[in-house]
Structures are given as structure tokens and as C-alpha cells.
């Protein structure tokens, strides 16, 4: 079972649709999710962003920062659906994840046991002390 982390803490995954790999882009139906990895080009999704309900951006390693740019790009292409960072994301990165446009983080049970809910909630105040927010306003 994976755990979904939001500003209010841990919860179970309630996304009802299927999440397809980018290779199945031709088969995407209204309400589906799609998954991309760090090396994928999110521009491939521009034509279907209106149908997709969720985009899951995989983080195979916490120190591969490409997913942060993917999130910002997807938002700049006009994606308003649910944006999820999934995989090896640390509680210490929660503020960064939220600030670039992700709504939530998906982690596995082992990571949730090692970094329990309180460590994520400690960063739920990600709107505070935020230089970028101040400079863009």
C-alpha cells in the first residue's frame, strides 16, 4: 500500500482512475492518470492535458531534481488537474514539492515508517518563509 501525503498529513490513495505510462498516451481516456519519469518530455502531454485527471511524476531518487522542473512546466502548459510526486521524496523536500506546483506526494510504507507523519506535517507551512513567493507575488 502506498501513502499519499498532503498538507493535512497521511491518507490512503483515493484516485479512482487508471494511471497509464506515457507510452500509452494514445489510449488515454477522460479521467485517466498518466505517469512520467525524469527523462520524459512533458511537452508530449500538451495535447491531452484537458482529459488527464492526474499526472504522477516519478522520483526514482530524491536527489534527481528533474521532477521539480517537470511540475513547473506542466503547470505552465495549463495543467490544472492533480499533480503527484511519487517515489523517493523526503519530508525535507515537501515544501519544495508544493512550491513548484505538486498537490501531493506518494510514498511507500517503508519511507512512511522511517519518516512518519509528523515530519511531513512540520513542512506543511510551505507558504511561509518563501523568497520565491515574495519575488513573484
Amino acid at each position: 500500500m502506498t501513502i499519499i501525503v498532503t498538507d493535512t498529513g497521511f491518507r490512503v490513495d483515493d484516485f479512482p482512475g487508471v494511471i497509464r505510462p506515457l507510452a500509452e498516451i494514445e489510449q488515454i481516456q477522460e479521467g485517466d492518470g498518466v505517469e512520467i519519469g525524469p527523462a520524459d518530455d512533458p511537452r508530449a502531454l500538451v495535447g491531452v492535458l484537458g482529459q488527464v485527471a492526474l499526472i504522477r511524476v516519478r522520483f526514482p531518487a530524491f536527489n534527481d531534481g528533474r521532477g521539480f522542473s517537470h511540475a513547473r512546466d506542466l503547470r505552465s502548459f495549463g495543467f490544472h488537474g492533480r499533480l503527484r510526486a511519487a517515489g523517493h521524496v523526503l519530508a525535507d523536500q515537501y515544501a519544495m514539492v508544493r512550491r513548484v506546483g505538486f498537490d501531493e506526494v506518494e510514498i511507500d510504507e517503508a519511507l512512511a515508517a522511517r519518516q512518519p507523519e509528523d515530519q511531513w506535517l512540520a513542512r506543511a507551512n510551505w507558504r511561509d518563509n518563501y523568497y520565491q513567493g515574495r519575488l513573484r507575488a
Binding site: 531534481g65 519518516q115 511561509d128 518563509n129 518563501y130 520565491q132
Partner: protein, 556 residues
């Protein structure tokens, strides 16, 4: 000078609290060592050869006296009584204990300082001309822009896990003292034909094992476009930079492998798409920052006593000949305090010396100090009538070495005495060269000459841009020093040319001596500098000085 507002203050305090908790969470196992590592690095904490090292940011090299005194306090209370000023205009403490680091960070926050992003694969401390707002040749003060970039880059959510570290340098003067062409991004403040302020933007420079000079990506970028454009460069690099090989991960390789045109196309597409996210508030904030960098109240006073003292005291005169630089205000000068006493560790200052420099800045320097990338301390605004008093106080503190820009004003990385990456010692070589030239008494005759020493291929000692560069390598367990000549970090930037085989540690000082004395033989006249002579005569005569004698070079 810039002082923290409530926002900055709250930010650094929250960051210290986060780091305190990260240290605890490392100990209780919430964070693995691999996970903790980048988190401590982005707070300036390295694990060195013998101990932890804390690198404290001195944004754009600017300090006020109370900040300098606090560095002295930290050196005494939590370290061994000294600090090391670096080529990145930072200060390093070489012996802190992990458990003390959160307290040190709190002490820094007390004076509006931090150690954030002095390491790690993120945007590092932004460096600037150390003579900013003082030099006679300046077009505009780069520090407000550097402060804006500091705020923009600090904890930038998209760019904390880049392929590799990222360094930005800025100059507001045509004479480039910030080595902008050796940075990931170099910014030169310029004006367009309509007189509007903007930047020449350079990208893809760097030293290290593959030295490259930055190329122009925009010849005029309007000032208001700066942050979105820099962000577009970083975004393109974050996605395109290589992550499979750390030695090919810097932006210089990204630009080189993709070609400047393709990389630029990517940047421009991102810029066009993301520009509208910027409302212009950043430019309002910039105006507030600029107001804080208003020039001090310069005074008008006679300089006759200074001239008289200079005429009668030869030692003082020698110091004024090399340690002063022209100031834009009449009667004023820029004082460089050498941290390169012959035989001492380049860049080191004791707590006592830091306090002396702080006192002098307060009393005679309009409250300003700078750290140069050449590892010296600058008093940017000193009235000439105060020079005898400043010099006397510096002498008492062993800080009056008259060697700025000369043979013994050597940049050296920490090398194998401190650094886990080093393959050879740097500091002892610098010390021996300086001591040797002091014995020879030719330093002032030789004139401007930049020697730069790196103790490994990563080139922290900037040897590629030294007029004489020395690179220490490990050849089958024996230190071996390669010589490069003709490097230049200024507006006429060049990467030094490799000469022949290297020299073992006990022969490198003699080799440098032969080079310099040989130069004295072939220079056209006393006005022709070492670099000019090398550019005119080419490498051959210099190779002769290095290898042509009966002293045998190591064939390794």
C-alpha cells in the same frame, strides 16, 4: 550595505531550526547518511579529511564590522582561533564539531549571516567585484543585483537538486575582477544605446578538469528580465544537464555537448513561456535593496600629511605602491589587506586579525569590508589622510605585507592539508614560493604576476587562469606539479597552456624561480608584465627556462 529585513531574519531562523532537526533526525535514523548528506551540504557543512568543515557565505564578499567580529567570535569559541577566506569570497572554519554547528548557525543569524547553499548541487553564493561601488572604472554597483540573486536563489524550490553545483558572478566594471568568464553564469552590467541598464549574459564557463570560458548567450538583457531569464537557463540545465557522470554534469558540458545555439533555443522557449509569471514585484524589491547600498558620506579633507609621510617612510611607500587601488572619489583610496604574509597560509586570518580589520573598517572605512576572490580583505573606502594610521595598526597585527598582485600574493586551495579530494599539497608550495621570492628580493621588480595553485584537477585554486598555474597531481603515490602559463581571469580571459612534464615537490619552487628570473631577462622593459611577455614571446622561451637547465625534470 544590506541589512536583513524581518523576512530574511525569519527565514534564516527557520532554516537553522530545520537543520537542527535534520541533525537529530540523522541520529535517530529518520534520515539515512545518503539522504542527510545533501541536506548538510546545502547548509554549508562538509566532511573533510580530518573533520567537518563549515563554509559560511559572505554574499558578494561584503561584510560589516559586527559581522567580521562575529566570525572572530565563532573562530575562538567553536574552532581553533582562525578562519580561512576562500576564492569564493566565503570563509571556512576547518574544525567545528557536528553538535556545535546549529549553534554556530544561530550565531551567524544574529548578525544577518548564514551558510546556506555554500555547497551542494544548487545555486551557490553569488560573487561580485570586490571593489564594487568604490573602483574608479565602475559603471554600476553590482551588489544590489547580487543581493536580488541571493534572495531569488535561496531555497529556490526547483533548483535544490541540480545535476551539479552552479556559480554566478557579476561585475559592474569593464575591468573584470570577478572572473565572470569562468562561471556557470557571468553577468556584466552594461547599458544599451538608449542608455537603459541591462546585462551581457555569459553561460557555460568553468575551470575544473575541463576548463572552458563562458560564451555570450544574450548580449543585452534588460534589467527587469534578469530573474526570469536566469531561471530559464537553470530550468534548461536542470533538465538537460547530465546526471550519469558527475565530471560531465556542469553546465559548461551541457552547453558544449548540445551546442550554444540549441541550448539557447531551449532557454529562449522557456523564457518566453515563463516570463509572464513575474509581475514586476522583484524590480520593486530591487529598488529597496538599491536604497540600502547608498554610498557613504565621503568627506573632503587634505591629503598633504599622507603625501609627506609617504615621502619620508620607504616601507609605507612600498605598501602604498602595491596595496592601494584608485577610488572613484577624490582623496579616497581602496586598501587591500594582504592575507598572504610570506610563509603564511594564504587566506588565513586569526580572530585577533579579524577584530583589528573590523575596528579599522569602523574607524576609517565607513563600516565596510570586502573579501576578494584572491583571498585578501579589502577596505573599500579609506581617506588617504587616514592611511598612516591604518598602516600602523595593520603592521601591529602582522597584516601590512606589501605584496598585492605580486609573486607572493598566491591563490592556493586548501590542498592535501585539509581536503579529502586533493592529490597534492598546495599551501606548503605557496608558502615556499613566497618565502623564496622574499629571499631573492625581486618581487617588486617583477611586478604584477598571478600565481595560482590547485591541489587536484578540480581546480579550486583557479590554476587555469593564473599567469603561472600550478596543478598538484598524484603520480604513483608521489606529488607531481604541472605548470601552465598564460592564463588570465580578467576581461582578456584565457586558459593557461600546459607546459611539459611536471616537477616533484622539491623541484617545483626552483622551476618557478627559473621562470620568473627568465622573464626578467627577456622582458622588453620594466613595463612589460609577465603575461604580456608570454603573449608576445610565446611558450618556447619559458619552456627553456623550465626544462633547459641541467636540473632534470621529472619525466612522469
Amino acid at each position: 550595505m544590506y541589512t536583513y529585513n524581518e523576512f530574511d531574519e525569519a527565514f534564516v531562523r527557520s532554516r537553522v531550526a530545520q537543520f537542527r532537526s535534520q541533525v537529530e533526525r540523522r541520529i535517530d535514523g529518520s534520515l539515512t547518511e545518503d539522504e542527510f548528506r545533501p541536506l548538510r551540504l546545502m547548509n554549508g557543512l562538509y566532511l573533510q579529511l580530518h573533520a567537518y568543515m563549515l563554509r559560511v557565505a559572505i554574499p558578494y564578499g561584503t561584510l560589516n564590522p559586527s559581522q567580521m567580529r562575529q566570525l572572530a567570535h565563532i573562530a575562538e569559541r567553536w574552532d581553533k582561533g582562525y578562519g580561512h577566506f576562500t576564492t569564493r569570497q566565503n570563509i571556512q572554519f576547518n574544525w567545528p564539531r557536528l553538535k556545535d554547528v546549529p549553534d554556530i548557525l544561530d550565531a551567524l543569524a544574529d548578525v544577518g549571516m548564514h551558510a546556506i547553499q555554500t555547497s551542494g548541487n544548487c545555486v551557490r553564493n553569488v560573487t561580485a567585484d570586490h571593489f564594487a561601488a568604490a573602483a574608479a572604472d565602475e559603471i554600476a554597483d553590482p551588489r544590489p543585483i547580487a543581493e536580488l540573486l541571493r534572495e531569488w536563489s535561496t531555497d529556490h524550490p526547483e533548483f535544490q537538486f541540480l545535476p551539479r553545483k552552479f556559480k554566478i558572478a557579476i561585475t559592474g566594471a569593464p575591468n573584470d575582477r570577478a572572473v565572470t568568464r569562468a562561471h556557470d553564469i557571468g553577468l556584466r552590467m552594461v547599458r544599451n544605446e538608449a542608455g537603459e541598464p541591462g546585462f551581457e549574459v555569459l553561460v557555460g564557463g568553468g575551470l575544473g578538469r575541463t576548463p572552458m570560458l563562458a560564451q555570450v548567450i544574450r548580449d543585452f538583457l534588460p534589467q527587469a528580465d534578469l530573474l526570469p531569464y536566469i531561471e530559464a537557463i537553470l530550468g534548461a540545465y536542470n533538465l538537460k544537464g547530465r546526471r550519469d557522470n558527475k565530471y560531465k554534469a556542469r553546465i559548461k558540458i551541457t552547453v558544449f555537448e548540445n551546442g550554444l545555439d540549441a541550448f539557447k533555443a531551449d532557454v529562449e522557449e522557456r523564457f518566453a513561456r515563463l516570463r509572464s509569471q513575474w509581475s514586476g514585484v522583484d524590480q520593486e524589491i530591487l529598488k529597496d535593496i538599491e536604497a540600502q547600498f547608498a554610498p557613504p558620506a565621503f568627506r573632503n579633507a587634505p591629503t598633504d600629511d599622507y603625501e609627506a609621510f609617504r615621502a619620508q617612510n620607504g616601507v609605507f611607500r612600498a605598501w602604498t605602491d602595491v596595496n592601494l587601488h584608485p577610488h572613484k572619489v577624490d582623496g579616497y583610496t581602496i586598501v587591500s589587506i594582504s592575507l598572504k604574509k610570506h610563509g603564511a597560509t594564504p587566506g588565513d586570518a586569526t580572530a585577533h586579525q579579524m577584530r583589528v580589520m573590523a575596528d579599522l573598517a569602523e574607524r576609517y572605512g565607513h563600516g565596510e569590508l570586502r573579501v576578494s576572490h584572491e583571498q585578501n580583505i579589502i577596505l573599500p573606502h579609506v581617506h588617504k589622510s587616514d592611511l598612516p594610521a591604518v598602516w600602523a595598526a595593520l603592521r601591529e597585527a602582522d597584516l601590512a605585507t606589501a605584496n598585492i598582485g605580486l609573486v607572493s600574493d598566491i591563490i592556493a586551495c586548501p590542498g592535501m592539508d585539509y581536503c579529502a579530494l586533493a592529490t597534492a599539497r598546495s599551501i606548503p608550495i605557496a608558502q615556499q614560493i613566497a618565502t623564496r621570492f622574499e629571499e631573492l628580493q625581486v618581487e617588486h621588480d617583477v611586478g604584477p604576476l598571478k600565481i595560482k595553485i590547485s591541489g587536484c584537477i578540480n581546480a579550486c585554486g583557479h590554476h587555469h587562469v593564473g599567469h603561472i598555474g600550478i596543478l598538484g597531481l598524484d603520480r604513483a603515490g608521489v606529488e607531481n606539479y604541472q605548470v601552465t602559463l598564460g592564463g588570465d581571469g580578467t576581461e582578456t580571459a584565457a586558459i593557461g597552456e600546459k607546459m611539459g612534464p611536471g616537477f616533484p615537490a622539491e623541484e617545483i619552487v626552483g622551476a618557478i624561480e627559473r621562470l620568473v628570473l627568465g622573464y626578467l631577462e627577456i622582458r622588453r622593459d620594466a613595463e612589460e608584465t609577465f603575461l604580456e611577455t608570454f603573449r608576445r614571446a610565446g611558450p618556447e622561451p619559458f619552456k627553456g627556462f623550465l626544462y633547459g637547465t641541467e636540473e632534470t625534470a621529472d619525466a612522469a
